[in-house]
């Protein structure tokens, strides 16, 4: 192998890791909601594009960078997610899975059509000052926008970990996820905890949307693609596992980048699905998932 090839490979892996971190953050929301409430959010990709549109609108009309509007978007998503869970999803918890599926599919259709009606079918992207910038680290050239997005994704994932491990509400949510009956017995308000969980999951998706718009432009038709991608990531990493979601994101990002380099760029998505099939065959619970989830 020549040094040029190794450098290209290292470059591809680095790029895959950076993109994978944003993928991981996106899938984190799905994993958190499922891990605690055992509800699969089929409107995940649609929520993601709403986050992207909000960040785009902030940049286009208010000249606010997506990185700066991110906390506000996450907060709006938290409130919306909380309200959605209390108002619509809560009555469906414990009901047959197909009913939950239809409800969330309905929400997804409403969201994507609202986007189409309000913004139209055209793609919209943001113009950033760092759009053409890159950093040189030894022989590697790192894309500035991707690097900023990846750092932000890692910070958000770290904050989420702190929330679940070091706050009273976070610990209560984990307790309710581990033993719902036990949580009720000790007097925890499980319905409220579920609503907070959905809000936190939605905030993760909104934040991931604000980061993703810095990398690629948004159209309403991206929603289904993102829902599918999030599912692939959490299934590979292990449904319900936060670390698994991050690992899945990194694996998918790197596998797509390396496959693009080694095989054919137009076939790169095939490799993420190949990885999914492999995991389903060899370890159906996902790489870091628990048996029975």
């Amino acid at each position: 192998m020549t040094s040029d090839f190794l450098l290209s490979l290292a470059q591809a892996i680095t790029k895959g890791l950076l993109t994978g971190m944003v993928y991981g953050l996106m899938a984190l929301g799905l994993s958190v909601i499922f891990g605690v409430m055992r509800v699969v959010n089929f409107a995940h990709g649609e929520m993601m594009i709403v986050g992207m549109y909000l960040a785009w609108a902030g940049s286009e009309y208010l000249q606010v960078s997506p990185m700066l509007s991110l906390p506000l978007i996450a907060a709006v998503f938290f409130v919306a997610g909380y309200a959605l869970q209390r108002g619509m999803i809560s009555p469906f918890i414990g009901r047959p899975e197909h009913q939950q599926f239809l409800l969330l599919l309905g929400i997804a259709l409403v969201l994507v059509n609202v986007c189409l009606a309000v913004v139209g079918p055209d793609s919209h992207g943001v113009q950033l000052d760092s759009q053409f910038d890159s950093y040189e680290v030894g022989p590697l050239v790192l894309d500035a926008v991707r690097l900023h997005a990846a750092i932000a994704a890692v910070v958000i994932a770290g904050l989420l970990w702190l929330f679940f491990t070091h706050t009273r509400i976070g610990k209560s949510i984990r307790a309710a996820a581990d033993n719902n009956m036990g949580a009720l017995v000790v007097g925890l308000n499980v319905k409220r905890l579920y609503a907070i969980t959905f809000g936190v999951g939605a905030a993760c998706v909104g934040a991931a949307g604000a980061l993703m718009i810095t990398i690629i432009p948004v159209t309403p038709f991206l929603a289904a693609e993102y829902t599918l991608l999030a599912f692939v990531i959490v299934i590979v990493g292990g449904l319900g596992s936060m670390t698994g979601a991050l690992l899945g994101g990194l694996l998918i990002g790197v596998s797509e980048a390396v496959a693009g380099l080694l095989v054919d760029p137009s076939l790169k998505s095939m490799f993420s699905f190949g990885l999914l099939i492999l995991v389903l065959l060899l370890r159906p619970q996902g790489l870091l998932g628990k048996r029975g989830t």
Binding site: K15, S123, G260, D264, S266
Partner: protein, 417 residues
């Protein structure tokens, strides 16, 4: 008093007579209007005015919007009734819209910028026996399938490639600099696939002075071309030849800058993307000096001057490019065919299209004439370089509006402002 308003047979007769007179009176007038070129040739304009190709579709539409004004300016006794249909950048929608247009009474279909969408429309046109004038679409099969109701006023992929490679040689000769290697990056939609096929077949026969070291294809919906560009950079080619559209052209140049790859030239072998207004606007100084080898507007034609004047008046913020030029010409062809046919019947219009010879038009090249397959073979390519945020003809020398800059300056060169 009440008897005065009674409805009688006599009154019915009077009313019928008055009605017939009212309806019949304008008949001679309508007949005279029909003789002088009436406003009733219904042209369905099918374009991707939304979706990934929306900006280009809208650029095409602007050319059609100005058709009647230019005809009037050029004293042509004709006015078209143009009805717009959005294909949403999807072949299936293009097919449905073509059917809808025919149901609504369209006499002629015009469209559709993209080969995939045009093929879908051509099938409908052929099934329903309605003439289709292709404004832009390069896939050879459009005029290779024996269609009886399709004519194309745009070069096929081999014509584009042949013209572009001839210009490459002229550029190297004029600049005294010849790249040794080139890498091709191509979108893998219908147009891109046709271009790749054409380049693979023609390259060995054209005796080009450089070696084609790799062909890298990518998805039309690609949202990121970092790996593709990294792969192209790894070839260390002297020249990048993109076969692209607007959005991927932007992604590609963005990645070139980020990955600090400075090839001697970014020069396409006949493709859109690099000369588009939105590309020039969003890429800023990084959009400068790239070369497109494509058919372009002939600045010396009186009709082009009229079109430019109308365009500047109505769309001051927008650039008139080959998209608007070819779509305008499609309208011109429909109008001339109608004037020749003196009928809106499909067979009469097709017969007129086959025998058409339009000397005065807007694009560089000979008269618009269709061969037995329905292809205009008189279209000529020009080398158009982005200079001062404007696509400018630099080759052939006879039509050049500015001096060629080759090799193109590096990303941080002072000439990029």
């Amino acid at each position: 008093m009440t008897n005065q308003y009674r409805f009688t047979r006599r009154r019915l007769g009077q009313a019928a007579l008055a009605g017939a007179a009212a309806l019949g009176a304008p008949l001679p007038l309508r007949h005279a209007l029909a003789q002088s070129g009436p406003a009733d040739l219904k042209v369905a304009l099918l374009l991707p005015t939304s979706g990934a190709q929306a900006q280009i579709g809208q650029a095409c539409k602007r050319g059609a919007d100005l058709a009647n004004a230019v005809f009037a300016d050029m004293k042509m006794p004709v006015k078209l009734d143009i009805v717009n249909y959005d294909t949403e950048t999807k072949p299936d929608v293009a097919r449905t819209q073509a059917e809808k247009a025919i149901e609504a009474g369209a006499h002629v279909l015009v469209g559709a910028f993209d080969s995939g969408q045009t093929i879908a429309i051509a099938q409908v046109a052929e099934q329903r026996g309605i003439p289709l004038i292709v404004n832009i679409a390069a896939a050879p099969q459009i005029t290779e399938q024996g269609y009886k109701f399709v004519v194309r006023n745009f070069p096929t992929a081999p014509m584009l490639i042949g013209g572009a490679f001839a210009l490459h040689k002229e550029i190297f000769k004029a600049s005294g600099v010849t790249p040794k290697t080139a890498v091709l990056m191509s979108i893998n939609d219908t147009f891109g696939t046709a271009m790749i096929g054409g380049i693979k077949a023609m390259f060995p026969k054209l005796d080009m002075p450089y070696q084609l070291v790799d062909i890298i294809s990518y998805d039309p919906a690609a949202k990121d071309l970092s790996i593709e560009v990294a792969k192209a950079k790894a070839t260390k080619a002297d020249m990048l030849m993109p076969v692209c559209r607007l959005n991927d052209a932007k992604l590609m140049i963005q990645e070139l800058v980020k990955q600090r790859w400075e090839p001697m030239a970014v020069m396409n072998p006949g493709s859109p993307g690099l000369y588009e207004q939105d590309f020039l606007k969003t890429m800023g100084k990084y959009g400068e000096f790239h070369i497109s080898n494509v058919p372009w507007l002939d600045p010396k034609s009186a009709m082009t001057q009229s079109l430019e004047k109308q365009h500047a008046a109505k769309f001051a913020r927008d650039q008139l490019d080959l998209n608007g030029g070819f779509t305008f010409e499609a309208m011109l062809i429909a109008a001339q065919a109608w004037l020749a046919a003196k009928s809106t019947k499909p067979d009469a219009l097709m017969a007129a299209l086959r025998g058409l010879k339009v000397d005065q038009h807007v694009m560089v090249g000979g008269p618009i004439q269709f061969d037995a397959k329905g292809q205009n073979v008189n279209i000529v390519a020009a080398a158009v370089q982005n200079l001062k945020r404007k696509p400018t003809v630099v080759m052939p020398k006879a039509s050049a509006a500015a001096e060629l800059v080759f090799p193109e300056p590096g990303w941080n060169d002072k000439r990029r402002t």
